[in-house]
Amino acid sequence: MRRDASHRKMIEDLERILGPGRVLSDPLRLLAYECDGYTVQKGRPSAVVFPGSTEEVAAVVRYLHRHRIPFVPRGAGTGLSGGATALNGEVVISLVRMNRILHIDYENRYAIVEPGVVNRKLSERTASRGYYYAPDPSSQQACTIGGNVGENAGGPHCLKYGVTTHHVLALEWVLPDGEVALVGGPNGDDIGYDLRGLVIGSEGTLGIVTRIWVRLLKKPAGVRTVLALFDTVEDASRAVSEVISRGIVPGALEMMDRLAIRAVEAGAYPVGYPEDIEAVLLLELDGPEEGLEEQAREAVDVCRRRRVRDVRVASGEAERALWWNNRKTAFGAMGNLSPDYLVQDGVIPRSALPEVLARIAEISRDSGLRIANVFHAGDGNLHPLILFDSRNPGETERAVETGSRVLQVCADVGGSITGEHGVGLEKINEMAKIFSPRDLDYQMKIREVWNPEELCNPGKIFPRPARCIDRQPPLGRPASVPV
């Protein structure tokens, strides 16, 4: 990090733009902003700024653009691929102080929020009127809706209700040069190109989202949550396939394997699962009351036929909440088993799960690192969690390499390398596993339309062959992928 005269001038200028107390520049305090939920790669920002309005974001961006100073938008920093990390000392633009719910229109079922609004807060605010915001990433108690837009976040209930992009109608967006644009409309689609869709999931590389129009849904009248414990992963997977092939559309369908179960049982919300169980399946049905009971019975029947050890329906809201809290804290609970973890975000055809898990087990044995698996079973989004200890020399590199091998397995069975956590820093080099050099080139051309100088969240998503020499290569990976 340069701490020279130009740096001092930048801090003074930013303070002038934003006013006192809105620029953090003490290099020691900036340590707390070194990484997000992905801790393998770190970089200390040269400053963190806290704008409070669209105008302030635009003013800061205009200034940084004019001076060719790169910057990174950041929400709560719960991202799992390094998207909000200032790897090369960029200026971090924190959106957490823009956390107002600006407007709620129950009649037309939408809300306008600032990007720093915490996902769950919106559902809490609208609950008394019987509404909620559907995308429910497991991190929803902390992550921001701006960050959700950045990553096009999903969640357990996205199986039935869709991911962030299906719930965002329109966006206000500060372009990387400081211009402000509005995209989308009351139905979410644009006349002409769907720029709204393009921005969602662009991981902060196309600009900064400053206002978001989101859909509100009426809470389903009824819910039935089924918990099933299986002695083999195969049986659990078959049960999943059969439930879906019978035309039942669960709101959510989640699976955890034995090691993941061990972690959550040591965590904040133990359910009391038997220690020797191989797979836990959590299946939720929701919608109008009529028919729910039969569907639940049918799901239970399917599990019984698949040699379930124990299956039952939640007795009430308290039990349901416990089961979900237990499941939703699975990543964080890895700390009970290991000081560090690396989570992968593969997508696989549902039917391939037993095979993929068997191959992951092999990779785990081979690498000597334990791997726990959490699975959004309904839509085939698999999260293998590689446990390691960064204090052991070489182990971080081994974890990264192991993760890469796991993703290769996903790609081999016809899947993808990311379902919902984004590419960020972490999976840059995995992009070549699913895209040809030409595909990548096209995508980078799109970025160049708005972000030609790569000032906005540089070095994310795409490999940077041209400039990789003067950059630290990501730990333990090839420095670049030829394009």
């Binding site: 953090l24 003490d26 020691l28 305090r29 340590l31 707390a32 902003y33 070194e34 990484c35 997000d36 939920g37 801790t39 806290f50 709560a76 920093g77 719960t78 924190s94 957490v96 102080r97 956390n99 720093g116 915490v118 769950r120 807060k121 991190s139 108690q141 902390a142 992550c143 959550v264 040591a266 965590g267 904040a268 919300y269 804290t329 699975a330 990543f331 964080g332 609970a333 890895m334 700390g335 009970n336 000081p339 560090d340 973890y341 200890d389 960064s390 204090r391 052991n392």
Partner: protein, 440 residues
Amino acid sequence: MAAPEERGRSAFQWPDPPDPDKYSACVHCGLCLEACPTYQELGLEDQSPRGRVYLIRAAAEGRLPLDGALVDPVFRCLDCRACETVCPSGVRVGALIEEARGQVFAARPARGGPGRLQRLILRKIFPYPGRLRFLARLGRWYQRSGLRRLVRAAGLLRLLPPHLREMEAVLPDIPARTSREQLPPRWPAEGTRRGRVALLTGCVMDVLFAGTNVATARVLARNGFDVVTPSGQTCCGALHVHAGDRETAKTMARRNIDVFLSEDVDAIVVNAAGCGSALKEYGELLRADSLYREKAERFSRMVRDISEFLAEAGFEPPKGRIDARITYHDACHHCHAQGIRRQPRELLRRIPGLELIEMPDSERCCGSAGIYNLTHPELAGPLLDRKMADVPEGVEAIVTGNPGCMLQIMVGVHRTGTSRKVLHTVDVLDAAYRAEVETT
């Protein structure tokens, strides 16, 4: 376990540093961010649980000196443990913070962190019940002699910062005698004797809320327990641990351990949430003390909050009526530090006539946090305002189980200009038992 990666000399050069096993349990997931009152208020990651743990780790790895960037977040933490309730990895954030404060306290004897005056009070007053009593007498004299009227009339209070002025205004009338002077060494059980317990009288409870201590003993006796109040006991040391003065805290802990373990009792009962969790953590505080570690753990296992004790042992539902609507505030050191949520409500719900109306977010810190309201008014103030805004319409009293919260909420009631009472759970239960004597 492998040695921590060597990056430089650890900033923690004094005994009893933050425990590496505790900070390496943090996986940096961030699920704790929104649970943290200081992060909610400031939106700064260095003022969040994840940030604090990260900075402590960085200091241990020699990447951060024992300086402002670490000291400020570590001392601005409320030690409310809300983060521990939500942390899926079971990171002991509170303990880490306290250990880090210990390093700051040891490193900077005269300046930074707690100031000279605070140091003097911690070391020369709290360990000595006699001196506390003397101060209490002085306070009572101030309140009653006419001096207070004079001071107020002369406008001298304007010299105090606003938060101290408010505190002066609401401080309850100091009772003539401390609870230790009022309580007999042994208060015999009524009816069939079910056991024998020892009571911790504490420091603030002893002088400011003496009546609640006496009520606690009376309620225990009413439920069949002999209550002993060992005279050699001292303040629990929680304030010292919070300030980083671990050495004084340890001396006081050893003293209490010796005094209480020499009594033949089934449990050590406490009525202050903060003291209760400090006593339950003696094992942790003295973990490096080979002579006391085992005794401390035994001691800690015997400690029960009064509500916890009554709920466990079973209590006789009072027959006296109290016709009132109340709300309940969960002291952080009840809900987050000890997992006590259900028990006080159970006691209150069994009182005929009493209507408990829950307040939203009852587990959010009121800003008291030991003496935080005195050291960090800029954060404690907004927290108190939020707490008062959550008090449901139409309740006549706010009930809780910790003296610090009671004082803080009294300030809140004063600020909002209502006539609500602030009561301890035991006060209400005791009143219900006494009402039954009056009605029969």
